[in-house]
Amino acid sequence: MAEHRRTFEGPAEPALLDAVHEELAALWRQGPEVGEADRMLFETALAEVVANVASYSRSGTRVSLELAVLDDRLDADLVDDSSALPGDIVEGASMGDADAEHGRGLALAAAALDELTYRRRDGRNHWRLSRLRQRAD
C-alpha cells in the first residue's frame, strides 16, 4: 500500500500552528497527489485541533503529531501530555449561534472529517483525525 508519513513534535503554544501548516505543505509536496478539497478540509480540521490544544493546555505541554497519507484516507494522530479534557468534548461540540465569536472550532473540525475522536489514555490526550479521500472519477 502506498503511504507517506511525517512525524513532528513541539510545544503546545500558538506558534505550533505555523509549524503544522509547514508540515502539511511538506507532506503534500512529498507524498502522492491529494485532491485540493481533501487537502483544504484536512488542514482546516487539523489546525482547529492544534489551536484547541495550544489554547487550553497547561504550560510546558508537549505535542507529538503523526501525519499519514494513505490510499484511501488522510490520518493525523496527535498526543499531548496536558490535563484530561471532558470525555464528550467532540460529541458536545456545536457550531453555536451565527453571532458567536468563539467555540465552533471542534464542530468545524468534525464537519471537515469522517472521524474525530478524543481519548484519555496512559495519562495523555489522544486525538485521532481521519478523512476519507474523494475519488477522482
Binding site: L17, L41, A47
Partner: protein
C-alpha cells in the same frame, strides 16, 4: 502570518487580508476593524482574495467585526471568497450572515 493592506475609498475602508487569518491573527483583525469604525468609516470591506486560510478564530473575529460595525450604524462586508475560505464559510453556515460579494466594488456598492 498576516498582513493588512488598507485602501481608503469614497464608500468605505477596504482591507485586504494577506496570509492566514487564524488564532494568531484574530486579535489583530479585531483591532484593525475597531480602528476603522472609530475613525468614522461606516463601511468596512474585507477583501479575502489573498487570504490563504481561515480558522474558527479568524471567522470569530470577522463576526465580531460585523457586530462592531453594525453597532456603530455601519456595516462590514466580505468579498472575493474562494477556496478554503469558501469551504469553511459553508461548513459553518456563516455564509448566511456574512454574505460574500463577488468583488470589492460589488461589496462597496452593496450589490451582491
Amino acid at each position: 502570518m498576516i498582513h493588512f493592506d488598507h485602501d481608503q475609498r469614497d464608500e468605505g475602508m477596504v482591507v485586504a487580508l494577506r496570509g492566514r487569518l487564524d488564532l494568531l491573527a484574530a486579535n489583530d483583525l479585531r483591532t484593525v476593524i475597531s480602528k476603522a469604525v472609530e475613525d468614522g468609516h461606516r463601511l468596512v470591506v474585507l477583501d479575502l482574495a489573498p487570504t490563504e486560510f481561515i480558522d474558527s478564530s479568524g471567522l470569530g473575529a470577522v463576526v465580531g467585526g460585523l457586530k462592531t460595525a453594525r453597532q456603530a450604524g455601519g456595516d462590514l462586508r466580505i468579498a472575493n471568497v474562494a477556496g478554503q475560505v469558501e469551504l469553511v464559510l459553508g461548513l459553518t453556515k456563516l455564509d448566511r450572515v456574512l454574505q460574500p460579494y463577488p468583488s470589492v466594488d460589488a461589496a462597496l456598492r452593496g450589490d451582491g
